[in-house]
Subunit: 138 residues, 2 copies
DNA sequence: ATGTATGCAAAACATTTGCACCTGG
DNA sequence: CCAGGTGCAAATGTTTTGCATACAT
């Protein structure tokens, strides 16, 4: 019952918000741009303005429902906040994204921040490479 | 003699290229956006078009003279390629940037990429936080 | 009812490109 | 001289915003 999530976030339960949340939940792509979501909505016959999608995603971000990433693509992508922090491994050829979490790296980061007098608020680790997909091997 | 760098990169030694390289070298800000560089040039009285700055920076990047970063600011920033890979610690309040390198993290990353069948090509680790500057403490 | 949301079009940015002119080697 | 570089203006792509209308509670 994701409507609860919206209400809890202090957002009215409207059609655009429900649809967008639903797409983020059921899509097999876990990281979607505003445009990606817009296209899916068009296919479904739901006519939601791109501006609304941006507004809703920004609200979702503020509410902690989604996380916005700036991968090198030039477009921001959004993923549902799962509660479990993780980092990303991205295939530069096919765009495949693998999530991972490494406690040793996390610990080291905290150590580094502390050593430099920083109170850590967030971090972003992205590893770019070529995955073992047949079509990506040259 | 940075002119050599330009020649070695197969680029003609022109005024805009020299100026831009010089700014990147002498500026106390090691990470500058195209706009930052443009402003410095205006102050110096050198009228170089913003388009040229973007073109030159892109060429420098291809030539391996500079590295382009996409920090969350929406603008790309460029830093001189020092030859020594490093990651960044950024203060979200004052913008201060500290560079660091941690061998353990680097090693772990390779391990993770390999474990997931990725041939690593690059990576980006950015830690965001609040630095110990007086003015940044609340 | 009424405060919020949405749609649309226009604006705001960052970046790129076309093209006529200029310049370095 | 001549290929390549630059300036300017216009085009592009992404995201934001103003405003009149529509909707949830």
């Amino acid at each position: 019952m994701e409507n609860q999530d919206l209400k809890r976030a202090g957002l009215k339960v409207t059609l655009p918000r429900m649809k967008i949340l639903e797409i983020l939940e059921i899509s097999n792509k876990k990281h979607m741009s505003a445009e990606d979501i817009y296209k899916v909505l068009l296919e479904t016959g739901d006519e939601i303005g791109l501006a609304t999608i941006y507004r809703v995603l920004t609200q979702f971000e503020s509410a902690g429902l989604v996380i916005r990433h700036h991968f090198e693509s030039g477009q921001a992508v959004f993923e549902l906040e799962s509660g479990k922090h993780h980092d990303h491994l991205i295939c530069v050829k096919c765009g495949k994204i693998v999530e991972f979490l490494d406690e040793a790296i996390e610990a080291k980061q905290n150590e580094i921040a502390q050593k430099n007098g920083f109170l850590i608020s967030d971090h972003s680790l992205i590893i770019y490479g070529i995955c073992d997909n047949k079509s990506c091997q040259q």
